[in-house]
């Protein structure tokens, strides 16, 4: 066990994956000599060489498009897009090709690749550097979408994503890169994609979140316990696609109440899908309408006002109390 932050844990996973399998290569802008603008790929260029840690021209569509070609040829590319706010350039390659090759060739051609990108707000970044648009990819049949919330699960989920036979979008909440440290086992460990985790057991209300929003959600849960004597269960989704309906529904059947929390915009967001699945499988267990604490349906404001956009413990607490007193 060694204590490390999420940036270091992701770096560790990348090094482990490359050491274990020579088909694993990295590509992207600034990933090589510079070690990435967030230092996530630091040391990999020196360790594995320019043939496997490839500094590319600045062109997102080409980074993903060529990664698709490499995956088809038999490599396991891990492509970095420098910020999630720039991955619209390559969206077409993911939607039209990465997500479809297996299906349209009836399994003959597959695209085992990972797109990594830092996502989310909270670090006073400039315009176009704070987006959380995982719902776009969740709405794209054929992709998997994973968002870690801690150093240990970031490392384990990334190893799983790289080993997965299908294309995976791996979003890294950049506000968590250096937010806290956690013990990470020395030996490689994986976590199955598509499994949520109950990170706090409770019986009165279910709070469902993922990524950077998990921390304020847990804070709110503690406050509910301390101030209201309410026992909140907290679920960390980890995988947005496949979404772990069973874990969500099992919890809601027990508590009868649910609040979903995420940074991305509300309409047609992940919270809407979670609410729909709760309705489908556990409507009659609900004691109150499901509430959503999410980013609003506006572009994330410039950093002077971003804190009003992002979910925080107070907003979650208020929503939970309204749900509990419905």
């Amino acid at each position: 066990m060694a204590e490390m932050n999420m940036a270091k844990a992701i770096n560790k996973a990348l090094g482990e994956a490359m050491a274990a399998d020579e088909r694993v290569i990295m590509l992207g802008a600034d990933v090589g000599v510079n070690g990435g603008v967030f230092r996530i790929t630091e040391g990999l260029y020196a360790r594995f060489g320019e043939g496997r840690v490839i500094d590319t021209p600045l062109a997102e569509s080409a980074i993903i498009g060529t990664a698709i070609g490499m995956a088809i040829y038999g490599l396991r590319p891990v492509a970095e897009i420098q910020f999630a706010g720039f991955d619209y350039y390559n969206y077409h390659q993911l939607e039209s090709h990465a997500a479809r090759f297996r299906n349209r060739t009836r399994g003959r051609i597959t695209v085992p690749m990972v797109m990594r990108a830092p996502c989310g707000g909270g670090i006073r970044a400039l315009e176009h550097h704070s987006e959380s648009r995982e719902a776009i990819y969740a709405h794209t049949p054929g992709l998997k979408v994973v968002i870690p919330s801690s150093p240990r699960n970031a490392r384990a989920l990334l190893l799983s994503a790289i080993q997965d036979p299908d294309p995976v979008i791996y979003y890294e909440p950049k506000s968590l890169y250096r937010a806290f440290k956690e013990d990470v086992p020395d030996q490689p460990e994986t976590l199955p994609l598509g499994q949520a985790r109950v990170v706090r057991s409770g019986s009165d209300i279910t709070l469902i979140s993922y990524g950077a929003s998990l921390r304020p959600t847990l804070e709110a849960a503690e406050q509910l316990q301390e101030e209201d004597g309410v026992s909140a269960e907290v679920i960390d989704l980890l995988s947005i696609v496949p979404l772990d309906t069973v874990t969500i529904v099992t919890s809601v059947k027990k508590t009868g109440r649910a609040v979903v929390v995420h940074e991305g915009p509300r309409s047609c967001g992940i919270g809407a899908e979670v609410a729909a699945r709760i309705n489908e499988d556990s409507l009659l267990y609900l004691e109150a309408p499901i509430k959503r604490i999410t980013g609003y349906d506006v572009p994330i404001p410039y950093f002077s006002k971003e804190k009003y956009f992002l979910p925080d413990a107070d907003k979650i607490l208020q929503a939970a109390r309204q749900t509990l007193s419905f």
């Binding site: 290569i25 043939g51 496997r52 490839i54 590319t56 021209p57 062109a59 569509s61 080409a62 993903i64 498009g65 060529t66 990664a67 698709i68 070609g69 490499m70 995956a71 088809i72 040829y73 038999g74 490599l75 590319p77 077409h92 390659q93 039209s96 090709h97 297996r102 299906n103 349209r104 060739t105 009836r106 399994g107 003959r108 051609i109 597959t110 049949p141 054929g142 998997k144 997965d164 036979p165 299908d166 598509g194 696609v241 496949p242 979404l243 309906t245 069973v246």
Partner: protein
């Protein structure tokens, strides 16, 4: 002192070996065996005749909308003849003839245009990607395959195709730039047929040739007569040899003309004259290549007539196989839409699969409101 010209390589050539009057430039004539030449003509003619047959199938509603490839046979077959089976072939959607040559059975391609994903599945052992509809996007896959070949140390090359309209897309420029920067073994072949549906070449670019785009990416570029299969073959062979030696990509522009509509849904009378179409039809690649083969004593008139008969039979057989497959219960089973999305089908997709399955079962149990609306018979459900 203040302004000095920067010397740039601008040696863009135009290559023609077999002209529209079937006159051959003996100096430039590529070395090809009789078997190779016969094979090339076979696939050009097979594609031409199959195209004609497919137009009828489309009009009869037996296949869907499809883009004919008349006028594109020389570029497709000529270029594909210059690579080996372990090399890769990444088509756009007008490389019908080259795909047949690469080993795609005609009945498989009929399945594609007939509305079955099975038609996009490359046959085992064929190193091809399937048709690509979103223009220019496939050029990046070809480039990635080429980069991977280089990483693996394989002495293979990738041949990829696109149209003049595609050259306006960002993916075209990004692909050329990546291939150039990484010196990937990729041969980019433009089927410049002078139209992107109705929009003429003059609206795609304001320069003399498409080949000169190569200059700004620091790679060799050449324009060839796209109706001259020998010129296409020779230019591609040179590019393949360079790429195999590690000397990077090449851009080849084949100048031709789409002698038919863009697809079976298009009417070119709205945007061009019959005279122009007539002029280009007289430059047809098959006419001059047939004369060349006759002049060289490789294929006389009686051999050509028997080839026509052989091909007619081949097409008939392929159409029969296609229609058999298209009526196959297993291939028609709609539940398969869920089966190939992921290596393992996740629970949420299983549920959707079950939902459709139960719906279909309930519908075939007795006529419901759906049947009353659509007029479909319950018996049609698998």
């Amino acid at each position: 002192m203040p302004r000095t010209p920067i010397q740039l390589p601008t040696n863009i050539e135009y290559l023609s070996i077999l002209d529209e009057n079937a006159q051959i430039d003996k100096q430039l004539e590529p070395i090809l065996s009789t078997a190779d030449l016969k094979r090339m003509y076979h696939f050009m003619l097979l594609a031409r005749r199959a195209d004609e047959r497919m137009l009828k199938l489309q009009r009869q509603g037996r296949i869907g909308t499809f883009p004919q490839s008349l006028g594109h046979e020389a570029i497709s077959v000529g270029a594909a003849s210059a690579i080996g089976s372990s090399d890769w072939h990444v088509p756009a959607y007008r490389e019908f003839s080259g795909m047949l040559l690469r080993g795609w059975p005609l009945e498989t391609l009929l399945l594609y245009w007939g509305g079955f994903e099975e038609g996009a599945r490359p046959p085992d052992g064929v190193n091809d990607l399937p048709y690509c509809v979103p223009v220019a996007s496939q050029l990046l896959h070809a480039t990635g395959i080429g980069m991977a070949m280089k990483i693996a140390g394989d002495k293979k090359v990738v041949l990829t195709f696109f149209g003049d309209g595609s050259s306006s897309e960002g993916d075209f420029h990004e692909a050329l730039n990546f291939a150039s920067v990484f010196q990937a073994p990729v041969i980019f072949v433009c089927q410049n047929n002078q139209f992107a549906i109705s929009v003429p070449l003059s609206r795609q670019m304001h320069c003399a040739t498409l080949a000169q785009r190569a200059v700004s990416y620091g790679i060799p570029g050449i324009r060839v007569d796209g109706n001259d299969i020998l010129a296409v073959y020779a230019a591609t062979k040179e590019a393949v040899d360079r790429a195999r030696q590690g000397l990077g990509p090449t851009l080849i522009e084949g100048l031709t003309y789409r002698t038919t509509a863009h697809t079976t849904s298009d009417d070119p009378k709205k945007y061009r004259s019959p005279e122009e179409e007539q002029l280009w039809s007289s430059r047809d690649a098959l006419i001059r290549f047939r004369r060349y083969l006759a002049d060289r004593g490789i294929m006389d008139e009686s051999a050509r007539i028997s080839l026509e008969a052989e091909i007619e039979q081949e097409i008939k057989e392929a159409v029969r196989k296609f229609e058999e497959a298209a009526g196959d219960k297993e291939l028609l089973n709609p539940l398969h839409m869920f089966d190939y999305l992921y290596a393992e089908t996740p629970e949420f997709l299983e549920r959707q699969r079950n939902e459709l399955q139960q719906f279909l079962a309930s519908r075939s149990a007795g006529p419901g409101r759906m049947e009353a609306k659509s007029g479909e018979s319950a018996g049609r459900d698998p």
